[in-house]
Symmetry: C2
Subunit: 189 residues, 2 copies
């Protein structure tokens, strides 16, 4: 719930600080990829050749760092979805979005657990991603493609579960399988 303060003003970084910020993000991507989303922040600072204090100054929490890393990708995700949506059934469109988001959320081991927190951080990309998800859900409900009592949180919950399962070593097809089950239900007869 609750996302209506879109653009957060930021005083522009000094040139050296911007450079360091980029270095930290690169190092963080490497280290998180190798060791998972709960890797040591000291490792990241060391690999970026930056003091640990600098890392904390720029990213006060681990979630802030993860959110910054997700930002670009989430932007792309939302953009893809918007173009795709023109030529797709609302249900299928929502389903595709969920698969993509779940795939993203299993990019680092352990990212899924904090996905909710990351999505609520007010970076532009995360904001765009969440907004797009809500838009798709609304449209699907309006056109009677999904049940009315489904909330965005419910979707997020399923996405988290899916990423969690995929992250624990299962094959990639597991993601679509789980999300399909969620769309179609497992009950028969």
């Amino acid at each position: 719930m609750s996302t209506d303060s879109p653009p957060i003003e930021e005083t522009p970084l000094r040139a050296d600080a911007a450079r360091n910020r980029e270095r930290i993000l690169e190092a963080a991507d490497e280290v998180f990829s190798e060791r998972g989303a709960d890797a040591s922040l000291d490792d990241i600072a060391r690999r970026a050749k930056v003091g640990i204090g600098t890392l904390y100054r720029r990213f006060p929490t681990r979630d802030a760092l993860l959110a910054a890393l997700c930002d670009e990708r989430m932007f792309a995700l939302a953009a893809n979805s918007r173009t795709r949506d023109d030529t797709m059934e609302p249900g299928a469109s929502l389903r595709t979005f969920m698969v993509e988001l779940a795939t993203h959320a299993s990019h680092y081991q352990g990212l899924a657990v904090v996905l909710g927190a990351v999505l609520q951080s007010q970076t532009a990309g995360c904001h765009a991603g969440a907004a797009e998800g809500m838009r798709l859900l609304d449209r699907a409900k309006r056109e009677n493609a999904v049940a009315m009592d489904v909330s965005f949180d419910d979707l997020l919950c399923v996405i988290t579960a899916t990423s969690l399962a995929a992250g624990q070593g299962g094959p990639k097809s597991r993601i679509t399988h789980l999300i399909d089950m969620f769309f179609n239900g497992i009950k028969r007869g």
Copy 2:
């Protein structure tokens, strides 16, 4: 996958050791309830008035301690299910079991994340619980109450997500809502 070595032989504990084991379990239940499943093990040892070495000797890992705590409850869960199952449709029976398991898994904050690991530990109760779940799923498939391509891991995944969502402060009704969605599917039209 993989559970066919049921009864693990244990050489009986010395009287004082058994007493300490019980003290540790009581303290662990208190501390985990207050501070979540990732609380400090030192705190637990201190509350149990036992050295930290004693705790580690009895429970080599955090998961082992959690598994021991889950043991009794899982036993009860499996027993309840078995008696209930006589008078219930297979689909409804499975659904009820999942709601109960998810409720249990949100008993401590953060327990859900390690539920899979805990269930695979070979304590008698966890073994009984997992076995019962598999039995229910098999029967439901055999009587054509749920789809054939649903695995026990899939159920566990949904249960984990559900507990995760419930544990993060949502109301208890969330559990049944999520599991119902999973049974019925969200697609309409």
